[in-house]
């Protein structure tokens, strides 16, 4: 089943009468990594939540190539602060599969496989909440990828991690991308954006200020704000 192209038309998020994001018009195709960048408060997280469906649209609509229900079934979300179930690493990994009625034995086998892929195979029986920040984020990533989503949203997945953990996360993301998972991630880290992005959405004041292929955006940004942001200047 195909999820893409995804078309968002005039989507908005408002709270207490104030517009947080929008109106945003956006079309996404099903390949590569789309990196959402912008200063604090520009609406990156809200936009990801709107696209994923965990935040309510105040206006506009999002059309996937399939029904919204089916599209939700093939998506994953990784949060900036990983949410760990109060269970073991093994049980955390098997959780999405058990929700989808995958038999326990098969779920455990796949959990073991994913734990090995992200380097957590020695910690399968440890309680997930006592892992380090980097380990928790790798676990959250593996837990999101274990059900083989067609699109994975990531909200600043490496925000609180050191260089080594960031590199490990990026390797997992690159591998996921190469197997066909569409990545849509927000980040503050311009180095990471350059390493991962195939296309870029630059948000400012809740709107898409500039968008396009990563190579074009990073080398020849069109707007003065994007140029200033890439230089590291304060942009408001």
């Amino acid at each position: 089943m195909e999820l893409f192209p995804m078309q968002a038309r005039g989507i908005e998020s408002r709270r207490h009468g104030q517009v947080l994001v929008g109106p945003v018009d956006l079309r996404l195709e099903g390949q590569g990594a789309c990196v959402v960048i912008g200063p604090n408060g520009s609406g990156k997280t809200t936009l990801l939540r709107l696209l994923h469906g965990t935040a309510r649209l105040s206006a506009g609509q999002i059309d996937w190539a399939c029904s919204t229900e089916e599209a939700r079934h093939h998506q994953g979300f990784v949060f900036q602060r990983p949410v760990m179930l109060r269970r073991t690493v093994m049980e955390n990994l098997a959780f999405p599969l058990r929700l989808r009625k995958v038999p326990a034995g098969e779920a455990r086998a796949r959990a073991r496989d994913w734990a090995a892929r992200v380097g957590l195979e020695q910690m399968l029986e440890r309680p997930a909440p006592v892992l380090s920040g980097g380990e928790q984020q790798k676990l959250a990533l593996a837990r999101a990828l274990i059900s083989e989503p067609k699109v994975l949203f990531l909200d600043e997945p490496c925000a609180a991690l050191d260089g080594r953990a960031t590199r490990e996360i990026e390797e997992i993301l690159t591998a996921a991308k190469s197997t066909g998972t569409r990545l849509i991630l927000s980040t503050h880290d311009m180095g990471q954006a350059r390493r991962l992005a195939d296309d870029v959405l630059f948000l400012l004041g809740g709107r898409i200020h500039e968008s396009g292929p990563a190579e074009t955006f990073f080398n020849r940004p069109e707007t003065p704000q994007a140029r200033a942001f890439l230089r590291g200047d304060i942009v408001e």
Binding site: T54, Q75, F77, V83, L85, R87, L99, P129, V130
Partner: protein, 234 residues
């Protein structure tokens, strides 16, 4: 003070000799209380989880009522259950009055709000933690509630133990609906009330110490079975 020592000695003697009547009363106390606890947990825990995760118009009102009912006067509960189960009451034909079943019903009504209120606090906190994750996984309402109940099980154990403590020490309601009938509905608390009324303070104290011992033993057993301390970090 003499009564206290005498009571302790008598309690020790009753336990050591496995006094037949004491064993019968203690086992009935346990059976009635644990049955009420099981029924109350089946009602209160899903109710607490539902109220924690579901947004509906009367939600705050339901929570307020649950909290208010924690202080439900047992004698009034006993009286109401008595009216419902008496011959002229709506459930009189079932012939439940003055049976252990009537005592279980009364105890269940008393402890459901207590367990539900304590459980609700814990489940609500966990729901705040899990909210984004479970919503992003597109879980159904049933999966959501099952996940929260399972992951909150240690806190729920505490809620259940609070209910057990309230139920096993209860006397007013079960005296009314059970009638304190020898070899039928007499339990430790009603036996204590009876012996105190007869002026047998030492025996009443002895039964009291046995009751305390029983309550502590059940608490410890449930903690041990639930591995509360061993995995308390998470």
């Amino acid at each position: 003070m003499v009564d206290l020592w005498s009571g302790l000695a008598q309690a020790f003697w009753l336990v050591v000799t496995l006094d037949g009547e004491l064993v019968e009363i203690a086992l009935r106390s346990l059976r009635v209380t644990l049955s009420a606890l099981a029924v109350a947990c089946v009602i209160a825990l899903p109710l607490a989880a539902f109220v924690a995760v579901k947004r509906f118009r009367a939600r705050r009102f339901v929570i307020a009522i649950l909290n208010a009912l924690m202080g439900l006067p047992p004698v009034v509960v006993g009286l109401i259950v008595y009216v419902f189960l008496s011959r002229s009451g709506p459930f009189g034909v079932m012939g439940l009055l003055f049976t252990p079943t009537a005592m279980i019903i009364a105890q269940t009504i008393i402890i459901v709000p207590l367990i539900a209120s304590i459980a609700h606090q814990s489940i609500r906190d966990l729901w705040q933690e899990y909210h984004d994750l479970l919503i992003s996984m597109n879980v159904t309402q049933g999966q959501k509630i099952r996940t929260l109940l399972w992951d909150c099980r240690r806190a729920l154990l505490t809620a259940a133990l609070a209910g057990f403590g309230r139920a096993i020490g209860e006397v007013g309601a079960i005296m009314i609906v059970g009638g304190n009938i020898d070899h039928a509905t007499r339990v430790l608390t009603t036996a204590i009330a009876l012996e105190t009324g007869k002026g047998e303070f030492a025996l009443a104290l002895a039964l009291g110490f046995v009751l305390i011992g029983l309550a502590v033993a059940v608490n410890l057993a449930i903690h041990w079975l639930g591995r509360t301390e061993r995995e308390g970090a998470w």
